[in-house]
Amino acid sequence: MAQIVLKNIKKVYPNERGRRGLFGRRREEERKSNLEVTSEGVVAVQDFDLTVGDGEFVVLVGPSGCGKSTTLRMIAGLEDISSGDLLIDGRRVNDVAPKDRDIAMVFQSYALYPNMTVYENMAFTLKLKKVDPAEIDRKVRDAAETLGITPYLDRKPKALSGGQRQRVAIGRAIVRDPKVFLMDEPLSNLDAKLRNQMRAELIKLRHKVSGTFIYVTHDQTEAMTLGDRIVIMKDGYVQQIGTPQEVFNHPANLFVAGFIGMPQMNFFDAHLVHVGNEYHLETSDHDIALAPQTCNRLSESWVDGTSKVVAGVRPEQISLAREDDPDAISGTVEVSELMGSTVHVHVTVEGSELVLVIPTVDFEREGGSFADGERISFKFDQNAIHLFDKESGKNLVRS
C-alpha cells in the first residue's frame, strides 16, 4: 500500500502549430477538444493536486478528453510529467521508470500477450524479476483462484471471453503485489450485464487485495459505486474532489451537478430576489421561496447584484402533487419512459424540459397513466434546490 501525492501536476503536449506533416496536414488534436492552447502547446492536464491515502480507492471520472487517462498514464510513467511533482510514499518518481514505481496497470483493451497462455501472461512480470519458479507458481495459482480463472490457465487469450480476459488482466496486476493499482476504464469493453457483475467483483477484490487503487472511468455509476473518493475532471481541470455522497449532494458547480446523477439534474434559469430575510426564486410564472438554511448560506456568501442564477433539482426529488396544492407546478408530458421500478417522465414547463423520476408504485397508486400531452402537477422540496451562478457556474450554497 502506498500514499500517492500529486502536486500541481501539469501535462502539455508540445505545440504542433506551424509544424506540418509531409502533405501539409495540420495535426487534428488542436481543433478537436476544448483544451487550452498556450504558447507551450496543448494543455491536457493542469493544476492537478491530489493526495491519495494509503489503501484508498480513488476514481477519476469525466467526459472523454478531460485528461483523466493522461493523469493515470503520468502516474504509471507512460507519459512524461510537464511540471509538478508525483510522489509515491514520499519518494519523487517523476523520472523513475514505470517498472521501478511498483505499480500495476489494467488497460481498457486488456492488453494481454497473445502469444502466451494465461499462466504465462500472469507469470511474465515475475519471471522478468527473476522470482523463484516455485514462488511464481504459487502466486499465479493464488491469483487465479481469487479470480476464478484456474480452469483457463493453459489457454491462450483468444480462447477466452471478454470477461475472462479482463480477469486475466487483473490477475496479471495482482500477482505482482504492487503498491498501486492503476485501472484505465477496465470495464468499458464489457457488455452491460458483465460490467455490473465485474463491478461487484472489483469491490470484493478490493477487500481481498491490499493496495491503493486509482481508477479511471467515464461511467459515473462505476465512479459512485467503487470510489472512496471521486475526482471529477473537465477540459484538463479538476472540478471537484469528494466522496460519492458529497459530489452527489453538494456538487461544486453546474458541470459536476449535470455529470453526476442519472438521469441528470434538471436545470432552469431563474432570478434570485432578496426580500427581507428571505430569498426567492422567480421564473416567469412561478415564485419559489427558498429554505431557511439556504437563505442563511446565501446571506453569508451571496453578493447582491448577480441575480441571474441557474436552479437545479434532481429528478428523484420531484414528486407528483395534487393540482390544488399551493406549491404545485404544472407541466405538459412530452414522453414517459417505463424503466421497470421507475418511470422517467419528461415534462415541459415554461419552455424548459424537466425530467421526473416517479417510482412505479406511486404511479400505480395514482391510478393514472402519463399520456403524451397530458397536464400533470408536481412539486419538490425547498431543500432539494441547488443554486448555481449563471456566469461562473459555481454552486452558491455549497457548504
Binding site: 509531409l22 507512460l78 488497460f107 483493451s109 492488453a111 500477450y113 497473445p114 483468444k158 480476459r165 469493453n189
Partner: protein
Amino acid sequence: MQRERTINRVLSAFFTVLSLAWVYPMFMILMNSLKDESSIGTSTAFELVGPQNAAGLANYVSALSKQGFASAFAYSLVITVTSVALILVCCSMCAWYVVRVNSRLCKGLYYLFVFSMVVPFQMLMFTLSNVADSMGLNTPFNICFIYLGFGAGLAVFMFAGFVKTIPLEIEEAATIDGCNPVQTFFHVVLPIMKPTYISVGILETMWVWNDYLLPYLVLDSTKYKTIPILIQYFRGGYGHVELGPMMACIMMVIVPIVVVYLVCQRYIISGVVSGAVKG
C-alpha cells in the same frame, strides 16, 4: 446468386489455365531431366519421357558429379540463410523503431526505405560492384550485407505495415511489467510478428536463392559460384550445352525452395493477435 456462380466458374477456368501455363515449363524441365541427352533437341524437347528416350537418373548423377556442385550448393545456402536472417532481424527491429518513435527523422527514413524498393537494380549495379570490391563485400560471407540493403525496402515496408496493427497497449503493459525496449521486442513484439516474419522470409529466400545477377557481378566467379551461376557453366565450349544435366540441376535447386514454401505456409495464419485486446 446465379450470376455469382457463373463468375466463379469463369474465374476458376481462367486461373486453372493460367496455373497450367505456369506449371508446364517446370513439368517440361522435369521430363527433359529424365531424358537421354540426344533426345533434347529443338524438335524433340517437348516430347514426354518414354522407353525410347529415357535416361533414368543418369542426368542427375552427372549434374551432382559436376565439378563445384557441392560447393555452389553450400555457398548458395550460406548466402541465403545469412542474408535472410539478417534481413528479418534488422528490418523487423528497424520497422518497429520507425513506427513507434515516429519522429520526423523516422518518417524520412521510412520513405527512404520505401523509395529504395522502386530503384531498379540495373541502375546501380556497376557502381555497386565497384563499391563491393573496394569494401571487401565480394565474398559469400559479406555479400549478405548487400542483400540486406536491397531486401530492406520491402521488408521494412511489410514489417512496418504489421507493427502499425499491434495495439500499443500490449507494449505499454510490457513496459509496466518490467521489460526494457529490447526485452519488449523479443518477448512481446517478435512473437506477435511471426506471420510477417514467415511471409517476408519466404519472399526474401526465393529472391536470394534464385538471384543470378548480383552474385555474378559482385562475387569473384572463379572462386565462388552460387547455384544459378553454376548452371551457366553447363554450357561448354563451341556452343555445346549439357542440356540433360542442366535440367537435372535446375530440378534439384527448385526442390529446397518448394520445401521451404510448403513448410512455412502452414504458419502463415491470420489473427495471431486476436484475443490480446478487445475486438
